[in-house]
């Protein structure tokens, strides 16, 4: 790089401008954080730690939507109850959504890790596909399939060609059961909110070191955003945040899948090296 190029690169950096939408979103987030009673701290995790933490996600995500004491309505006008939300979701067979997880440690600022999740609305089954964000490992996708009916949990790694099969841990419930339990919990705060120009109702529950927030479309009564924040954790983790967005109800199945059952198949793929924990459990 010549002297002129160094100066030119500096000037180019100075010409970079985020889009107004990106700035608006960032400012909204800070306004929200400053006016919230709680003090969320955004801190970062290493790519490796974030990648490893994905394996914590399926169990925590399966336990989402749990909560605490007496329904407290802040709004004076009647608003949909969570029972209405459950009813609206029950009309569908499958939901697809984007899951973004940020694991924050004491010293590092977190960067989101994204997954695509399919949840069966007729059975406690979930499929989570997480591509590796590091370019050198772009062909690596970790797929986690949890089947609460068969009580099996399969995890595969497309790059290493490895499969891990285990019995489902206790407490796994699936999407709708979690929603029903949230409906029965007390202490949920319900407020009107606007999300991306859409009128929504936000349900929020703070309980100990976890906070659940669910936004539902005021017209369709279907969930449009969900946030779970868990404060604290092992290895200097101070916060773990999971956000679900981009909900699609009864979406098209991905290519190569003939039916919903194929999506949640827990049969280890052929040619993969299998670590079968179910046999070890039996012993």
């Amino acid at each position: 790089m010549t002297d002129d190029e160094v100066t030119r690169r500096l000037e180019q950096l100075g010409e970079l401008e985020p889009t107004p939408e990106a700035t608006g979103r960032a400012l909204d987030r800070v306004r929200h954080a400053l006016t919230e009673s709680t003090q969320p701290v955004s801190v970062a995790s290493s790519p490796r730690r974030r990648y490893l933490m994905r394996f914590v996600v399926p169990s925590t995500a399966a336990l989402v939507l749990l909560g605490g004491a007496a329904l407290f309505l802040l709004t004076a006008t009647p608003a949909p109850t969570l029972a209405d939300v459950v009813k609206a979701a029950e009309k569908y067979k499958l939901v697809k959504y984007k899951q973004t997880q940020t694991t924050d440690t004491k010293d590092l600022v977190g960067t989101p890790t994204e997954s695509t999740v399919y949840a069966d609305l007729k059975a406690p089954r979930t499929r989570t596909e997480t591509p590796n964000p590091i370019p050198d490992f772009a062909d690596e996708v970790v797929i986690s399939v949890q089947d609460g009916t068969k009580k099996l949990w399969l995890m595969t790694n497309s790059r290493r060609k490895t499969a891990w099969l285990a019995n489902m841990p206790e407490g796994y419930q699936g999407f709708l059961v979690g929603l029903r339990e949230f409906q029965q919990k007390k202490g949920v705060i319900q407020v009107k909110d606007k999300l991306g120009g859409v009128e929504t109702v936000k349900y929020r529950l703070e309980e100990g070191d976890r906070t659940d927030s669910l936004w539902v479309d005021a017209k369709t009564l279907l969930p449009v955003r969900y946030e779970l924040q868990l404060d604290g954790g092992p290895n200097d983790i101070i916060r773990n945040k999971i956000v679900w967005t981009d909900f699609e109800w009864d979406p098209e199945l991905p290519k190569g899948f003939k039916g919903i059952d194929a999506l949640f198949d827990t049969t280890p793929p052929k040619g993969y090296e299998l670590d079968d924990q179910t046999k070890k459990d039996k012993k």
């Binding site: 790089m1 010549t2 002297d3 190029e5 160094v6 100066t7 690169r9 500096l10 000037e11 180019q12 950096l13 100075g14 010409e15 970079l16 401008e17 985020p18 889009t19 939408e21 990106a22 700035t23 979103r25 960032a26 400012l27 987030r29 800070v30 306004r31 954080a33 400053l34 006016t35 003090q39 969320p40 701290v41 955004s42 801190v43 970062a44 290493s46 790519p47 490796r48 010293d107 590092l108 600022v109 977190g110 960067t111 989101p112 964000p133 590091i134 370019p135």
Partner: protein
């Protein structure tokens, strides 16, 4: 004494967009810029530094520069370049050529002294006049010009090929 939320919100309205742009320039990532803007204001809320600052704007931007380079150090060297566009598909970022060189310049900036780094960032990335920078850093304009010249020299030196090393890689076309 921590600043009251209303004051922080006022500062956010006045300087938030500029700080977000600065974070975007220093991280080349939209998600990181958003994270760091929030991190900055949450840190300000938790500390008394802003309350004691004579020049709140200067304090904001200098803290932001430190925060962004802390972030860069924490990520080095595993994070890829521009894996996520800092803005939408039609953003200036997408039109820029030589993203890797931008990253190299940012890495070289990190190796400078803190004052040298601040001067170059405020001068070239924030387009501030020497007099304005001098006021923010509590120095004379003459001192700032000197700092800027020295830091620029160090930055250029970082990109000079080592002795005996060809300035451009030899290819069949350039080989005589």
């Amino acid at each position: 004494v921590s600043p009251d939320p209303q004051r922080l919100l006022s500062l956010l309205e006045a300087h938030g967009a500029g700080l977000h742009a600065l974070f975007t320039r220093l991280t080349l990532r939209a998600d990181a810029a958003e994270d760091l803007l929030q991190e900055l204001f949450l840190r300000l809320r938790a500390s008394d530094g802003l309350a004691r600052a004579d020049n709140p704007k200067a304090y904001l931007f200098r803290t932001a520069i430190r925060l962004a380079f802390d972030w860069r150090r924490a990520r080095r060297p595993t994070e890829p370049l521009l894996t996520e566009p800092a803005a939408g598909a039609e953003s200036p970022l997408d039109r820029l050529i030589g993203a890797e060189q931008l990253e190299q310049v940012l890495a070289a900036l990190d190796d400078l002294s803190e004052s040298g780094r601040e001067v170059l960032v405020l001068r070239y990335l924030e387009h501030q006049e020497y007099a304005e920078i001098a006021e923010q850093l509590g120095k004379t304009e003459h001192q700032v010009r000197g700092l800027c010249s020295k830091a620029l020299g160090q930055l250029r030196a970082a990109f000079q090929p080592a002795a005996g090393e060809p300035e451009t890689p030899e290819t069949p076309e350039t080989r005589s």
